[in-house]
């Protein structure tokens, strides 16, 4: 049983995006939100520390 599971695990890819639904939109949203948050923090600093 262990061998069977090992084989099953080995056959998986390192990057695996498969699943019940596509989360690509959410992955992109995470990056966009992070960029927006960092820009927001930078503007906040610039405004109040200037």
């Amino acid at each position: 049983m262990i061998l069977a599971r090992q084989h099953q695990s080995d056959s998986q890819r390192f990057v695996d995006t498969s699943g019940g639904e596509s989360l690509t939109f959410i992955f992109v949203a995470v990056i966009l939100v992070e960029v927006a948050v960092l820009v927001g923090l930078w503007l906040f600093s610039a405004h109040f520390s200037g």
């Binding site: 019940g20 639904e21 989360l23 992070e34 930078w42 906040f44 109040f48």
Partner: protein, 568 residues
Amino acid sequence: MHPLDWAIIVTYLAWVVYDGLKRSKNTHAVEGYFLAGRSLPWWAVGLSVMATQMSAITLVGTTGQGYADGMRFVQFYFGLPVAMVILSVTLVPFFYRARVFTAYEYLERRFDSKTRVLAGLLFLVSRGLAVGVIISAPAVVLSIVLGWNLVFTALAIGVPTTVYTMVGGVQAVTWADVKQMVVIVGGVGTAMVLLVLGLPDGVEIGEALQVAGVTGRLETIDFNFDLNQTYTFWSGLLGGLFLMLGYFGCDQSQVQRYLTAQSVDGGRRSLLMSAFWKIPLQALILLTGVLVFIFYLFNEPPMLFNATYEAQVRSGVRASEYAELEKEFQSAFQARREAAEALMAARRSGSAGTIAENRASFIGRQKQVSDIRAAAVDLVRGVSGDVAYSDVNYVFPTFITTRLPIGLVGLLIAAIFAAAMSSIAAELNALSAATVIDFYRRHVRPGSSDRHYLLASKLATSFWGVFATVFALYAANFGSLIEVVNRVGSYFYGSLLGVFVLAIAFRRSTANGAFWGLIAGMGAVWIVEIISDISYIWYNAVGTIAVLVVGLSVSFVDQARNRPASTA
């Protein structure tokens, strides 16, 4: 403390334990006890992931850091969102589909028993001691600020947490985490609102923030690339990326959270919740600390926030020195308040020359206050012998107990308890899982019934709860021990991350490569720590790279050795 505040804290503790006991109905099997039968909704798991990461010392220490140093600590988390996306498409589907209980279980399937044993042992030792610290650190702070007995405080944190974790398993942990996140966010939000409402008449929040900004406390991004600095944009984004990959990808206390989700997508979504909310939440907690700084610009703060040490110095041989410093501090505080008011008045008048002049004056007054506080801290270090003493962790609890109205003191203290308990519960559950699944079931008593392992799991949870609470009482007396425990994690996570990358990304890597790579990774971190001043935030990257280099080299030699034998 007022009886109403006591009632809030006791009610909160009773509620968490009662709810945990109710959850025991659904934990009749080991899979239910450790993984909730993989049935939990992603949003509950996501809140549990966030609650596990936010310990009491994070809450108390982060607000203190905002008060003393400002918001630059937020950069520490810049790598987290990217780490969550990477984990969502690599380790999360991998662990989920492998149907494992623990991350280390997979290492035996892919490599061998010794790699699993080493990884499991490292986890048990490092996290077992760390739970003690997670109990000890807030217990010390709360016992001093509230005037409670230290043993009582540690027991008040450790015992209820152990009881509901032992009885209710991961379901109790997760649903308690959900409530605890609500209490934490509600408590911090309430404190922020009160701090803003508590500004003196005529002072707008915007101009108060501009005064705080003059001290550099609102600087959130530093683009300098300096490996020795922990809080820079690049350290957070790159060093923090490896740190977060290691913590969320390889620490059983986090891996076990997302394995409880209903599906692989649910596991992914639970991590992505942190990706969206962690940085804004940390920024708000730091901003709370800055607002406490602003509050104390207009209301006299204590010179020292640790009342026990203050009393010790006052009654010691250097009492006169302290009294002298206190007089200087009072006049320095008055001068700083006047300088802050003058700066705000100058900004309203709009004259650039006056603004610059008042700005320089305020900076000078702020430095004077800081210097006197630093001298007082030095005095404490000399009198108490606690050379590592810093009163940053006492700022927020002192503010809560001395400045907030009745009722809210209880709510905020309950929030600190909540932060401690959520982290401890997840760690206890994970320690029990690793103990039973990776050691007891695998090496001590294989082939027993599920009922037997369920009982063993509950006993293991109790053992780790008792161990952590007892260790917390010892750790409270040894500041350096706490530091040592915290460092163990940074040796471990990066190296373990390297082993999982070897396992999943390099099919030709061998068991020997993984084992010696893991040891080499920890050795590399140890050497880097000794010979350089590189910030610990980079240790995980060092560990991961060392594991990959050594692991792949050993694997290559292994294969070269085996090739002639297999073809002969």
